[in-house]
Symmetry: C2
Subunit: 330 residues, 2 copies
């Protein structure tokens, strides 16, 4: 079995590739397990060295829209690719600052990718990474206290709108039989290693990661700000399970919410103090940033992930466990 | 005030233009009423003679995407256009038969139109005609018994998906201040004059209109099929009211459902018999068509149009009144 991962050189994409390579096989959509023979990592940057060194890994480096425009001569997805994880995206903060970037990176890409899949006539499975950001609170339309899989998304930022449009396209290309679509909504992934990025949610990792490295970090939202988190490991498990679920297990073509631990940034800081001591926790600067706060405070924090639960996907037990996982891996 | 109507030579567009010209003025989004000086009818066909003869009417004939591609040199929407009604669309049956046609006619058009509006930097008001077809019943995700303004749309045809994506784009361009967006969902409009078209819902007019003209007509769905109808006159009133509502009256950027009378095709036939006699009603052939039935039976029939009611918009009293209106106009 051949697999394509867009955004495959990024943190989640590379971690997903490592998990798939370690397993060595995959039971796609309820079919018998097959050996994974090739994973194509499509990204603007080259994959990490460990992945590049694996003989099963192929790298495709470039702008996704440009790569898709090359067409069948140099296909991003070929007839021998049974599964595509579409993780590539411009992140929330970037899309709010640069509207055209978001439309290109988050809307044109999924449409182009779906068209590429459609023209193969092989109906590959496409796992589309949507986001909790499709849900947005507003004075005119307050969010319910708990988000379910059937809550009406009312995105309050362009990233969320573009992701929600992607879900619709995946649903219809799926209904038409052009792909087997799997719409999944990622929660805020924390703790991410590496550097801050342009996501409004970036600080949910930075406020833990930087202090653990002895570096000051900003928490730009009030201490009582609640958030729906999922650890990197459970996010990857959930992505793979979504590809493995049979059509019957999967059910409706609308998106499923991944499970999430509800906590607050104050409680995240307390967990950091419990795990690493007060000196480390004191490296968090509580400095409000209205631009980031406006985006983040519009997102929901309580999610009843019923369909994910039905697939056996559960949230992390507590944030202490998430920090412990991060420490064990760095 | 200058107004643009895409699909302006079609039945609804022409009727809307006539209603606006007869009023002579419009109070846009709660502002003081202004005299309507120019209405541009954009369509693939030339407008009806009565409209073409009005000195306030300008016709712009061509494919909407092609017209939009011409850019500012020959703008579809200019800086002096305060209001756009976007009614142009490929209809449901066409989109299901020709996927690319639907994507071009219903997705590329609204995106192109929004981009044209954005680049004006005048934030015109855009009333986007979405549709009840955003709601679709499926075994995996049954519709609730009554649709509300916050019911999650789960479209079961490409037309509905494309309209729902359009709603998202209008909402975000509105949130960004590029336009003042007004997403409205039209119900099945009946009784339409003229000829059958490619809409799966076309027979809801044909099964009344044709018998009244002494011609046999097919009802392709079972007699107990329920439907959410709104007369042409109330549809036009609702479109104009949507442009006139202030931002505060309007509320959330998500779509409002227009009001609807719930009836069944059997009761429509009985109303026809009451109004025009058994001989006319006997001209209906009850011949199932699985392709049409599959689309139409996925649509909801009961709508609680709360936001529309708040704007003073109500459904027709009964189908007899709708037939009477049709007869009075032909």
């Amino acid at each position: 079995m051949n697999i394509v991962i867009t955004g495959g050189a990024g943190f989640l994409g590379a971690r997903l590739a490592r998990a798939l390579l370690a397993r060595g096989q995959l039971a796609l959509a309820g079919a018998p397990a097959q050996t994974i023979q090739k994973i194509t990592l499509v990204d603007q940057i080259a994959p990490p060295a460990d992945l590049a060194a694996d003989p099963r890994v192929r790298a495709m480096v470039g702008d996704l829209n440009a790569l898709l425009a090359a067409g069948p001569a140099r296909p991003v997805v070929g007839a021998d690719d049974a599964l595509v994880f579409h993780l590539a995206a411009a992140v929330s903060g970037e899309c709010e600052a640069d509207f055209d970037l978001g439309m290109r990176s988050n809307l044109d890409t999924i449409r182009g990718l779906l068209e590429a899949c459609r023209h193969l006539k092989t109906a590959p499975t496409l796992v589309f990474a949507s986001s909790l950001a499709v849900f947005g609170n507003s004075p005119e339309q307050p969010l319910p206290a708990v988000i379910t899989d059937t809550t009406l998304p009312t995105p309050q930022n362009s990233y969320g709108i573009q992701k929600f449009i992607g879900e619709q396209l995946v649903a219809d290309y799926g209904r038409k039989g052009f792909v087997r679509g799997r719409n999944v909504r990622l929660m805020t992934v924390s703790v991410r290693p590496g550097k801050p990025n342009g996501a409004a949610s970036s600080f949910f990792s930075g406020m833990i990661r930087e202090p653990l490295a002895g570096i000051r970090a900003v928490c730009p939202v009030p201490p009582d700000t609640a958030v729906a988190l999922l650890s990197p490991s459970r996010t990857i498990t959930s992505l793979i399970r979504s590809a493995e679920a049979s059509d019957k297990e999967w059910g409706a073509r609308t998106a499923i919410n991944f499970p999430a631990l509800t906590t607050t940034v104050a409680d995240m800081a307390k967990a950091l103090e419990r795990v690493a001591g007060p000196k480390v926790a004191s490296l968090i600067d509580w400095t409000p940033d209205p631009v980031i706060a406006k985006i983040v405070l519009s997102w929901p924090a309580r999610v009843d992930a019923e369909r994910a639960r039905g697939l056996g996907l559960l949230p992390d037990a507590d944030f202490d466990a998430i920090i412990a996982e991060y420490l064990s891996e760095t």
